[in-house]
């Protein structure tokens, strides 16, 4: 089941590769079909998750095949409560991204080819339970990102943005890689494995030495952190998303970015509880940079994409805070924010992309009164902005609320003040910049130059409706997510907080 979700986009890429370059309908059709297929299978998996039988390590829908036995590399995929939602969200965003790709008019063959490779890579990275594939799939998704921004990007800063995002993300990925290799080498040569489940079991039985954890954890934390635009390594994000083609921004900001967070939750926390204990204080401090500082930066942006990009960085702060609080409520909330923000980021970038095709600008000072011309897109943008400032009814609220409750109970120093800051950032600063954007883009008098602006026709509404529906469904009935996440988060939190006890045991031994 998981294999077909991952394989469909790759197969589509193959088909596109062997199709002559002027068959543009085929590219688009194949891409839409493949992502739709992935989405349908992912939906079936998401809905059937509770009923499915659990296999090794509590994972479900496991598929495993030997690949390079001599190195212990297996193709090994499976889901638990944490990545099942992420894959479902990724499949929704991928389909939406394929839908909005109608705006691309040049070199479509290469574009759709890269889009499909990126989609397959993203879905594969979240499904993999083998360290090698986990990382390789991520690279498969990352490289098309750079190329797409470089070739189809927009704006005067395009080249600088491409350079910036490439530099940062490659550096982040490399630092994380060094950390992962270090982790791998901690296992005695005879038992070495890339199997995440086996690694987890091994380190549960034989905890890593505390001083080693102290070195490896920050490598993962900063490496993955850079991939998620952790403050102060965040400047690539608004810049890159501002220049990226719509679909790339949706897929990266929505899904691929969450890879770093997923890596932190899946690998760093449970395998290195001692490291976590030492370093999560730092993470908590830095996340304030995301929540407050990037919120303030967002307040000053006059370009819609820059504003959305900065707000997306700010939202990541909530995930970091949830992870740093290291308790069930916080981590569950963090995963909910990841999923909710994925849908929301995709939605907002899709909307701004649509507006740009109509107005050829995203400068908010030039816009105004567009709601008159764009009743559907405008209404969707208002809803997205409201979701972005944590309005109940959307999934983001559930996540942010749980993170605040969780962080209140956290053990790091002055945790309660962090909650105060997070509430200020989410409720007040978020509302200020989101509503300012609505005021400048949609409200006010309509200028004559926008008379030719047209609202989305029926079939172009599909991606927006789909993303909004998912946000609302999870917002109205959050237990669709939390009931799945909770048991898995509980297991991870249990391992991550066992640090002290385990360390004592190993000393005794």
């Amino acid at each position: 089941m998981l294999t077909s979700i991952i394989l469909l986009p790759f197969l589509a890429a193959l088909v596109i590769l062997f199709t002559p370059r002027n068959y543009r309908v085929v590219f688009r059709g194949v891409a839409l079909l493949a992502t739709l297929g992935s989405l349908l299978v992912a939906t079936k998996m998401f809905l059937g998750y509770e009923a499915a039988e659990a296999g090794v390590g509590g994972y479900k829908f496991i598929e495993k095949a030997a690949w390079v036995p001599s190195l212990g590399i297996n193709y090994f995929v499976g889901v638990d409560g944490i990545n099942v939602g992420l894959i479902f969200m990724g499949a929704i965003v991928a389909f939406a991204a394929a839908c909005v790709s109608w705006e691309i008019k040049t070199n479509e063959k290469l574009y759709y080819l890269l889009l499909m490779v990126m989609t397959g890579g993203i879905l594969g990275a979240f499904a993999s339970l083998d360290l090698f594939f986990f990382y390789a799939f991520h690279e498969f998704a990352l490289i098309p990102t750079f190329i797409m921004i470089g070739l189809w990007g927009r704006g005067e800063n395009k080249n600088y943005a491409t350079f910036n995002i490439t530099l940062y993300l490659s550096a982040g990925a490399l630092i994380a890689l060094v950390g992962l290799i270090g982790l791998y080498l901690q296992v005695p040569a005879a038992q070495r494995t890339f199997d995440i489940v086996a690694l987890t079991d091994y380190f549960r039985a034989n905890p890593m030495a505390a001083n080693v954890q102290h070195f490896i954890f920050p490598l993962l934390m900063f490496g993955f952190g850079i991939l998620v635009s952790l403050w102060p390594f965040h400047t690539w994000a608004p810049l890159g998303y501002g220049a990226a083609p719509t679909a790339t921004a949706m897929l990266h900001a929505g899904v691929l970015k969450k890879f770093g967070l997923y890596g932190l939750i899946r690998i760093a926390l449970p395998l290195m509880p001692e490291g976590a204990k030492d370093w999560l204080n730092v993470l908590a401090l830095l996340c304030l940079g995301n929540i407050l500082y990037c919120g303030w930066v967002a307040m000053r942006q006059r370009d819609l994409n820059q504003l959305i990009g900065n707000s997306s960085v700010a939202h990541m702060g909530f995930v970091f805070l949830g992870i740093a609080s290291l308790n069930l409520i916080g981590v569950t909330g963090a995963v909910v924010v990841m999923i909710a923000h994925g849908l929301l980021a995709a939605l907002t970038f899709a909307l701004s992309g649509y507006i740009r095709t109509q107005t050829n600008t995203l400068n908010m000072d030039e816009m105004g009164g567009l709601l008159r011309k764009l009743p559907f897109i405008g209404a969707a943008l208002v809803m997205a902005m409201m979701a972005g400032c944590g309005l109940p009814g959307f999934a983001n609220f559930v996540g942010e609320l749980s993170v605040m409750f969780g962080a209140w109970k956290a053990s790091f120093g002055h945790a309660k003040w962090f909650v105060v800051a997070a509430a200020w950032g989410g409720l007040v600063i978020g509302a200020i910049y989101m509503l300012r954007a609505v005021r400048s883009v949609l409200h006010g008098e309509l200028s004559d130059k926008w008379n030719s602006v047209e609202d989305a026709v029926l079939w172009r509404k599909t991606p927006f409706v789909l993303l909004l529906a998912a946000l609302l469904a999870f917002g109205f009935w959050p237990r669709l997510l939390t009931d799945k996440i909770k048991p898995s988060a509980e297991a991870i939190v249990k391992m991550a907080t066992s640090g002290k006890a385990v360390a004592l045991e190993s000393v005794k031994r």
């Binding site: 109940p392 609505v438 006010g444 939390t482």
Partner: protein, 473 residues
């Protein structure tokens, strides 16, 4: 699923009908004016009927809890979406659905020529849903959820004529000011939860009653933080600035949301969490400068101060809706002061009577504005008594009630508050009396200038009575 249905579970209908109406209008019928209006009006009338039924069935009962939904359940964080029927919520239900029904019907006339009537009724239904959610909620997080939804529906309705820059600015200001209050509100909720391990009113109350002394200070801080939310919604000083600007919305909206129901939500919630203030207050060290003041004293003085400055502001306004808006501010201050003076009953009494007579005044003002072709300056009116007698007499009745002339309802409710004040604090009693004097002064000024004297503009000269759906003739 339905085998265990109890009669009280019908209360869910009160909440669901406006939601269904909002969803149906938003998704399908918003292009059709008539149909949207009919759906929305039907929903609110049915809600009103069910509310009356609930009131009759359970008016003697102390507390009825229809079957709740388990909405969120992560570790210690358990949140229900559950309803709570007790005398307080039953009374408020009648106020909200009663005034709501009247205003939905009135809107049908007032908004007839607007090209976005579908959007208007959709937002109105969303508002009814959210407001009824606050009224029926049985826990703090659910209250917060609907609290935010009320904020957003008010945002949508204030900014209904979004092309007018003043309206677009006003809705933004209203939402952000409310968010400042909600910032305190959510922290208060978290504090309550960390103390009592629950957000359910029933459980928290029992918990506070069993630990009266050691948690008294924390409960009072939590109460004050939650009061921040009430300061936002009920526009208390220093978060009062958004309410006068909110008059940029259509007049029926001002009547329903910014006079009768939403702005009263803060007062309602204070009465709901009144138990937090029951324990005697011992402030922690960093709040040592507050020693000698209880949390309720602070609330009473904020309410009193708001009542006074708003009444003073009202004296020198010339826009008919703004005069009423400042009057609302002032009366809300009155109610908040009453809660602070340990008189939640007096406060709720005044809330109820105020909801009706202030909505009546706004509807009268709307009728005047409609007749004078959207002229709102009272100095450009004059002599309207002869032109629109029905509006005049109803407006006069509302004015007399607001001024506290017996035997109208306003006299009794205001008297309750004055009596409460006279028992507790001489200063606040004098202040409240002064506000009562100012209230009569500015309302008399409004009536004398707008309805008597000579006509002072062409619009006022050509004014004639509003359509029947608005006056009910």
């Amino acid at each position: 699923m339905f085998e265990n249905l109890q009669p009280e579970d019908l209360a869910w209908l009160i909440l669901l009908l406006p939601l269904l109406s909002a969803a149906a209008i938003g998704l399908f019928t918003h292009r059709s004016h008539r149909l949207s209006a009919q759906i929305s009006i039907t929903a609110v009338v049915l809600s009103f009927v069910v509310s009356c039924g609930m009131f009759v069935m359970f008016k003697g009962a102390k507390l009825v809890l229809p079957t709740p939904l388990n909405w969120l359940n992560i570790g210690d964080l358990k949140v229900e979406i559950g309803l709570r029927l007790d005398p307080l919520s039953l009374l408020m239900l009648l106020v909200v659905t009663g005034v709501g029904t009247m205003i939905h019907i009135y809107s049908y006339g007032y908004m007839k020529e607007d090209r976005c009537m579908g959007r208007y009724f959709g937002s109105l239904s969303l508002f009814m849903f959210s407001m009824l959610g606050i009224v029926l909620s049985n826990n703090l997080v659910m209250t917060f959820i609907f609290w935010e939804l009320v904020g957003v529906s008010s945002y949508l309705l204030i900014g209904f004529w979004y092309e007018k820059p003043s309206a677009a600015d006003a809705c933004k200001k209203a939402f952000i000011t409310n968010r400042l209050g909600d910032f305190g509100f959510i922290l208060g909720i978290i504090l309550v939860w960390s103390m009592a391990k629950s957000v359910n009113f029933e459980v928290v109350q029992a918990w506070i009653n069993s630990h009266p002394t050691e948690w008294g200070g924390v409960a009072a801080i939590a109460g004050l933080l939650i009061f921040c939310g009430a300061m936002g919604k009920s526009a208390q000083f220093p978060l009062h600035v958004w309410l006068p600007d909110a008059m940029e919305g259509p007049t029926p909206v001002s009547a329903l949301i910014h006079a009768a129901t939403m702005v009263a939500a803060g007062v309602y919630m204070l009465c709901r969490v009144f138990f937090l203030f029951g324990a005697h207050t011992v402030w922690p060290d960093f709040l040592g400068f507050l020693n000698g003041w209880s949390a309720l004293d602070i609330i009473a003085w904020i309410g009193g101060f708001t009542a006074l400055i708003a009444a003073l502001m009202a004296v020198q306004q010339n826009d008919i809706k703004r005069i009423l808006a400042y009057s609302t501010l002032s009366q809300l201050g009155y109610m908040v002061m009453a809660v602070g003076l340990t008189g939640p009953v007096a406060s709720m009494y005044h809330l109820t009577t105020h909801a009706f007579f202030k909505a009546l005044l706004f509807l009268g003002a709307g009728s005047v504005i409609y007749a004078c072709h959207h002229e709102q300056d009272i100095w450009h009116m004059g002599g309207l008594k002869k032109k629109m007698p029905v509006t005049f007499w109803t407006f006069l009745l509302g004015t007399l009630a607001l001024c506290g002339v017996p035997p109208l309802s306003g006299f009794y409710s205001k008297d309750e508050i004055l009596a409460t004040a006279s028992h507790h604090s001489v200063f606040l009693f004098i202040l409240a009396s002064l506000v009562a004097l100012l209230t009569t002064f500015y309302m008399s000024r409004l009536v004398l200038v707008a309805f008597f004297g000579s006509t002072r503009s062409e619009h006022a000269d050509h004014a004639h009575e509003s359509p029947k759906v608005m006056t009910g003739r």
